[in-house]
């Protein structure tokens, strides 16, 4: 047996040791598992997390009203009306993103359980967040990144995040494109005995609940009511899950939670040639759709990030629109912030125009920016990789071929994805993995898709009739 196959065959054993969670306790033996009990028994309460984060200088970030962008939305809105747009300035966390909420709890947990170090497999802000928290707590840290194509050319945003991790004293292991990053991660976990600071553990997700909780309370304090809509940039699903759970815990039960991803349709995430033809390294459909329709693809047996459980709507925006809104945020609001949060900002600018003036829409994150992350860095890199940068109608953008900056602010659009289709696809994936659902599974699927048992039953019939299961 090759070393690759030998390590992969032992993945469950390595993961269990590096996480210290026995997921089997929550299993039913089929599709269903006890999600809430898993969150309760392996996670931390909201009060505990607030305390952990306060001690780690995480959270309590400012909520900023984007008055000029709101005014611009009203000027270009077909009805002349638009909701007030607010943004949660998560760039104020120590490593510059909301990911520190997740990392603070993972690293706290690792330290409490006597691990000497932490490992995170991520090309994103999460690596920097884990590195920062590990530095604060005196733990060692390894960040494993998918950073280069086979020519050795690195995505500038990933290179910047690697630099940041190194600044915090983390060892950065950089790889070429490919899912075998997971194999390298397993080898490192086994070699070092460090804690696996996975993005998808119950405590990682619980760490984000404070974000939703703060938004609900800050908006209420400022305006006398909870927000009508919170828009969340969606990739792996943790951001949406944690924020939605926090909103519920604050009592904001009527607030709608929408996911937003950058449309990268047509680009293959594991392709060496496509790798450097995309200008977004996260918050895009390459993660957003697969993680919504099959969350348990993650590096843990049961993913605590379950976006369909909480999502009230899902929208796509184009790469050109996000760069455009990033520029407007700087030029109209005096805020120079990074790419990820601006994905949901682009959608919010459009969605606000379908709302009333007294309604409130919150963009729930910003992130730090700088070399490699700025639109100018990404657009220059895109051009070098043969992607055309044009001004026109973003509807005509073809990922990997061109990036179209909107000619006018009225052309920024949030394009709705039919949630029912994602829910059906998730149910189909569950059946393909576990077999036909029993009564308990049907109840679980209704909860896990925020639908009804009737919807689940109808979907199963539809799939059966179509020969899809």
């Amino acid at each position: 047996m090759s070393r690759y196959k030998e390590i992969m065959a032992r993945k469950n054993e390595i993961m269990k040791k590096s996480l210290g969670i026995d997921y089997e306790r929550f299993e039913s033996g089929s599709i269903a598992f006890d999600y809430e009990r898993m969150m309760r028994e392996t996670g931390y309460s909201l009060e505990e997390i607030i305390k952990i984060q306060r001690e780690a200088n995480v959270g309590n970030t400012p909520l900023i009203e984007l008055k000029n962008l709101t005014e611009l939305a009203r000027k270009v809105s077909p009805t002349g009306k638009a909701a007030r747009i607010f943004i949660k300035d998560e760039a104020c966390n120590p490593s510059g993103s909301f990911k520190e909420r997740r990392a603070s709890v993972s690293v706290y947990h690792a330290k409490k359980h006597g691990y000497k170090g932490v490992i995170a497999a991520t090309s994103g802000n999460y690596g920097a967040a884990v590195a920062s928290q590990a530095a604060m707590k005196g733990l060692k840290c390894i960040v494993v990144q998918e950073a280069y194509d086979s020519r050795g050319i690195g995505q500038p945003e990933i290179l910047e995040k690697g630099r940041k991790c190194e600044t915090f004293g983390a060892e950065v292991v950089q790889l070429t494109v490919g899912p075998e990053l997971f194999y390298v991660n397993l080898m490192l976990l086994e070699e070092t005995g460090y804690f696996n600071a996975s993005l998808y553990t119950p405590f990682g997700i619980a760490g984000i609940e404070t974000l939703g909780y703060e938004i609900a309370n800050q908006v209420k304090e400022r305006t006398g009511k909870f927000p009508d809509v919170v828009v969340v940039t969606h990739a792996g699903g943790g951001n949406l899950t944690g924020t939605a759970r926090g909103l519920i815990k604050a009592g904001a039960l009527d607030t709608k939670v929408y996911g937003v991803s950058v449309d990268l349709t047509g680009l293959h995430m594991a392709s060496d040639t496509d790798f450097n033809r995309k200008s977004f390294t996260t918050g895009h459909t390459g993660f957003g759709i697969p993680f919504a329709t099959w969350p348990d693809r993650a590096d843990v047996p049961r993913n605590a990030a379950r976006p369909l459980r909480y999502m009230d709507g899902y929208y796509l925006v184009k790469q050109g629109e996000v760069f455009y809104m990033t520029e407007l945020l700087a030029q109209l609001e005096g805020l120079e912030r990074g790419p990820a949060g601006n994905t949901s900002l682009a959608a919010a600018f459009s969605l606000a125009q379908q709302m009333e003036n007294d309604q409130i829409i919150v963009v729930q994150e910003t992130e730090y920016t700088g070399a490699g992350k700025n639109p100018t860095a990404q657009l220059t890199f895109a051009k070098q990789n043969g992607v055309q940068v044009l001004v026109g109608n973003p509807d005509e953008e073809v990922p990997g071929k061109n990036i179209i900056l909107p000619e006018h602010p009225s052309m920024v659009k949030a394009r709705e994805v039919k949630l029912d289709n994602l829910k059906k696809s998730y149910i189909r994936n569950c059946i393909q993995h576990f077999g036909m659902p029993n009564e308990e599974d049907i109840k679980f699927l209704a909860e896990d898709t925020k639908s009804s048992e009737d919807f689940v039953r109808r979907t199963i019939e539809e799939l059966k009739n179509g020969g899809l299961v």
């Binding site: 194999y183 030029q331 100018t376 860095a377």
Partner: protein, 103 residues
Amino acid sequence: MAKKGDWVKIKQIVLEPHERAENIPEDTKKTPLTMWVKGILMEDAEIGQKAKIKTFTGRIVEGILVEENPRHIHDFGSPVPELIKAGMKAREILYGGEGNEQV
């Protein structure tokens, strides 16, 4: 020649093309999975030759020496006039044209 104690970057082939996972795109499958790590050089070594490093976490890793004192080369890129103009146009829409002092 890099000296013992220098901060360097090494490279290692983790999986040769024939060892790669089965369900990956053909273009990726043709290439080796390559890894780069930085650390303190443990013995003098030449670029392109075998070298041993001690990383931030104290791990000892062997590979081919590729760079001494590796520099971060990512930058802000070139100005993008289309973006600059987009911001100017938005200000015009918001504040009502060039006659307005706020522009």
